[in-house]
């Protein structure tokens, strides 16, 4: 093959952006270069000073009813103006749209990570009117400290409803949330707490109220708070006041800063952002940074990205279906422009993630979707991913509605003539971030039923159908599922 096309980004720079965005498209590559490289771009992203793209800001207007106060959402549902399912689906579609259009990549990625840790499904019966507000709260704290994030989420009405903490009261404890705060949200089972300590944890959480039968109004009632000394791990408190919230704050702060929490979060971050089986040394370093900074999220992430094991883990992660459909849209330059009805492209992405078996916020239990990538590589999922590429890789089609599709010429090289093999190489750099290998070139030639040596004079020499098949096949290379 003649000299290939240069990569969009240096591999090390690309690696940071691959892991902390939903797909490196030409625009993001420009941003990384303008920032002075992957690490500098990452720092810029952590600063919170990145201006959001106008397109992402406009997404808020697509779903005007999503952010109404929970009791109002509930009354609309009672009057038949809105269903639980709609409310859940809109939150999912909005999230997918933001992931596709955002310029605040690291923020969006971390919102996803924390949402999956402090997990409340969308459309769950006891929490649904509050779920969009829960999303707002996670967004607010996603790059702050975990201590603040934990307090804001554990005491949020969505969590209260989901893990039945409204039923947890003086004289009639309900251990649901008290247990999961320990097991899932903070220290984990390895911390070795007893069933008595689960009870103490539940006791600290009493007092919150939520009317899940009619209004969905939330509050706090000191009458329902169980007072009395508590001990959980190395935390003790007199818990003597009728209002238990200060005691609870102290408890959650203690849990957030606990070494077991540091280890557990470090491991989970490493599984998400480094590899399914991350090196222990990296996990240790990340945990140390977390503890020393008092659970500061940017400091923790810096330790992860700066560790040599992070740099060595290029292309080791596979994308889950929700990440993959957004990635597909991003690298193909598809920008959703609205969600007027079910035919809109953004809804196609949600349906496609569902067909492939994994939609954010639709995991049924409080542990969130598994962070391991390899678990999503079921044969059926792979078949559906392969099929979906060709739905979206052309210039037009039944699923390409309410979406801006880039022109063919804008996605192809400037300089012609080129052989088919060279065009494949160009597309491979653009869509996969690597040069085309021989099996890929052969697969494209076979699919188009023309020799790889065929010379093309310009974009118009590639029919729309061939353009679609070429791009779909490039994305179907094994690398297309990796990051």
């Amino acid at each position: 093959m003649p000299r290939g096309f240069p990569p969009l980004l240096d591999p090390a720079d690309r690696h940071v952006a691959e892991r902390f965005s939903y797909g490196v498209d030409a625009r993001l590559a420009d941003e990384v270069r303008a920032a002075g490289g992957g690490r500098a771009w990452f720092e810029q992203q952590l600063s919170g000073l990145v201006l959001e793209s106008p397109r992402a800001l406009a997404v808020a207007t697509w779903f005007p009813e999503l952010d109404l106060p929970a009791p109002l959402v509930r009354s609309m549902q009672e009057q038949g103006q809105r269903t639980v399912r709609e409310t859940a689906d809109e939150l999912i579609a909005r999230t997918f749209a933001l992931r596709t259009l955002t310029r605040r990549h690291v923020h969006e990625t971390m919102v996803d990570f924390w949402t999956n840790l402090l997990y409340v499904p969308a459309g769950e019966g006891r929490s649904w009117p509050w779920r969009a507000d829960y999303d707002r709260v996670v967004r607010q704290h996603a790059l702050g400290t975990f201590a603040d994030l934990l307090r804001a989420t554990v005491t949020h009405p969505a969590m209260t409803g989901y893990l039945t903490n409204d039923l947890n009261r003086k004289g009639a404890l309900n251990e649901n949330l008290g247990r999961e705060v320990l097991e899932l949200h903070t220290v984990g089972r390895e911390a070795g707490y007893s069933e008595r300590e689960v009870v103490a944890s539940s006791k600290l959480l009493t007092g919150f109220t939520l009317d899940t039968t009619t209004t969905f109004r939330a509050g706090y009632d000191p009458e329902r708070h169980a007072t009395g000394r508590v001990r959980v791990l190395d935390f003790t408190h007199r818990n003597a006041d009728a209002d238990g919230r200060p005691a609870l704050d102290a408890y959650l702060e203690h849990l957030a800063l606990h070494p077991s929490t540091a280890r557990r979060l470090a491991k989970r971050l490493a599984v998400r952002f480094v590899s399914d089986d991350p090196p222990r040394g990296l996990v240790r370093e990340v945990a140390k940074a977390y503890r020393r900074s008092g659970s500061d999220i940017p400091t923790t992430l810096r330790a992860l990205v700066d560790h040599p094991a992070f740099r060595r883990a290029r292309w080791e992660k596979t994308r889950n279906p929700s990440d993959d459909v957004v990635h597909m849209a991003r690298v193909l330059g598809l920008q959703p422009s609205g969600a007027t009805d079910g035919s809109a492209f953004i809804w196609y992405l949600v349906r496609q993630a569902a067909a492939q078996g994994q939609v954010s916020f639709r995991w049924p239990t409080p542990d969130g979707w598994p962070e391991h990538g390899a678990g999503y590589l079921s044969a059926s999922r792979v078949l559906r991913a392969w099929r979906s590429r060709y739905d979206v890789s052309g210039t037009a089609g039944p699923v390409l509605l309410s979406v801006d599709v880039p022109s063919k010429a804008s996605q192809l090289p400037d300089q012609w003539p080129l052989t088919l093999a060279q065009v494949v190489d160009h597309q491979s750099q653009l869509l996969l971030g690597r040069a085309a290998d021989k099996p890929l070139v052969r697969a494209v030639a076979r699919t188009l039923d023309v020799p790889a040596t065929t010379e093309l004079a310009g974009p118009d020499d590639l029919s729309d159908q061939h353009y679609r098949l070429l791009r779909g096949t490039v994305l179907n290379a094994p690398r297309g599922l990796q990051r």
């Binding site: 039923l167 049924p364 598994p370 044969a379 559906r384 076979r446 094994p478």
Partner: protein, 417 residues
């Protein structure tokens, strides 16, 4: 391609297998499809000799065994559950100790025909009241090893069949822990779109060859998944066809997720694609509140889905054994929300081929003070021993001790013939 349905069943020499065995067709099933077309597909495959099937139905959340199979002779049960205990006169198929929850009524015919049994005080070897850890322990079932390999994967691995569909999760595209491991297994959310792009056209053939080229030799997990996908595409059509037909024998499934999954499981079994182990999930068995209403709904759904499943299977029921599993039972006493929190021992239902049905099997520990585990029903039958008993009865060629390496020996409960 060799016909996967003609391999991997000779390790089953059991009675039920031979009764359904008919004259094997000399042709591979694929060739038959090509010759006779879709119309006859079902009947033709229906005549294929096939082996026994194990269906593991996971009741996710921690099913309350004390409500499903009620120990009505225990005063302690009625004392601990003032608002949620089921009165004895409402129970079905009572013996001197136990009775079935009234919502299980659709299973009555199976019970009467002795195709359904219940086991009690079954569970993990040690209490674990965490959903996630208990489920992981239950499905990995190899406490001596750090490798994340599930027991169904070890089981299917021993069958040495060549069908990618030998071990299947129906109803989700994500593999449960029980199926994860070195033997390729498949999670199938639905029977649609199980084919390569443009399948059935000339273009489709070219695309499939291109994919085979790209995924052919690589050793990464993604390459392996691609090869499995190509293999699945070769069999998927038969499953899709079987699933497109209405249920057989006038079976009527509820529209629930479980009903849908079991309807698809029946189609998968009928399709003759070499399936031997199926994992099916039923969710929402976490009864922290409103036990009474929750168990009514869940048990009703379970019973009507399972009843329809066995009706649908027709004579094939003899080669299919269903077992329900849950990560733990519930607390004996009610909590403040008329619910029950996480407990320990639970009940298991076993139905279908090889079952000594119409009776309760238990080394019942009672609910007396000294016999409880932290106040809850204890476990006298390690779930692994129950599963080993099923495997030994239904898959004599499989070494159950290699499926559950650390389980050791224990006298059989007698659930299986």
């Amino acid at each position: 391609m060799s016909d996967p349905t003609t391999a991997a069943h000779d390790d089953c020499g059991c009675r039920d297998f031979t009764t359904t065995r008919r004259t094997a067709l000399a042709l591979g099933a694929g060739a038959v499809t090509a010759m006779v077309g879709d119309v006859l597909t079902h009947t033709v495959y229906g005549a294929q000799p096939r082996g026994n099937v194990l269906v593991v139905l996971s009741l996710r959340g921690g099913a309350d065994g004390l409500s499903l199979v009620v120990p009505h002779a225990e005063k302690a049960y009625y004392d601990a559950r003032p608002t949620t205990a089921i009165p004895k006169d409402r129970l079905l198929h009572t013996d001197s100790t136990f009775g079935l929850h009234p919502a299980l009524a659709p299973l009555g015919p199976l019970w009467t025909k002795k195709r359904l049994a219940a086991a009690h005080a079954v569970g993990l070897p040690a209490p674990n009241r965490s959903h996630f850890e208990a489920m992981e322990v239950l499905e990995d079932a190899d406490p001596g090893s750090d490798a994340r390999i599930g027991w169904l994967n070890r089981f299917v691995g021993q069958l040495r069949g060549d069908s990618i569909l030998e071990g299947v999760q129906v109803g989700s595209n994500v593999l449960p822990t029980s199926l994860v491991g070195p033997r390729p297994t498949v999670a199938l959310e639905s029977p649609s779109s199980i084919s390569t792009p443009f399948a059935g056209s000339e273009r489709g053939d070219a695309v499939a060859r291109g994919l085979a080229q790209m995924y052919g030799d690589g050793r990464s997990r993604v390459h392996r998944a691609g090869r499995e996908a190509l293999e699945l595409a070769r069999l998927g059509g038969r499953y899709s066809e079987a699933a497109a037909l209405p249920p057989q024998h006038s079976a009527s499934y509820p529209g629930s997720a479980l009903g849908t999954s079991l309807r698809r499981t029946a189609a998968l079994i009928r399709a003759g694609v070499g399936v031997r182990a199926v994992a099916v999930d039923s969710g929402s068995w976490d009864h922290h509140q409103n036990l009474r209403g929750n168990i009514n709904t869940r048990a009703g759904d379970l019973a009507s889905s399972l009843a329809a499943f066995f009706t649908d299977l027709g004579p094939d029921w003899r080669r299919v054994t269903v077992v329900t599993l849950s990560e733990f039972g519930r607390r004996l006493p009610e909590n403040g929300a008329a619910g029950v929190d996480h407990g320990y021992g639970s009940a298991v239902l076993v139905a279908g081929g090889g079952v000594r049905g119409g009776r309760y099997h238990s080394r019942w520990p009672t609910l007396r003070d000294g016999r409880l585990e932290s106040g809850d029903l204890t476990v006298t039958t390690d779930y692994r021993h129950l599963l080993m008993e099923i495997l030994q009865a239904r898959f004599p060629g499989v070494d159950a001790h290699r499926v559950f390496p650390q389980a050791g020996y224990r006298r059989r409960l007698g659930v299986m013939r």
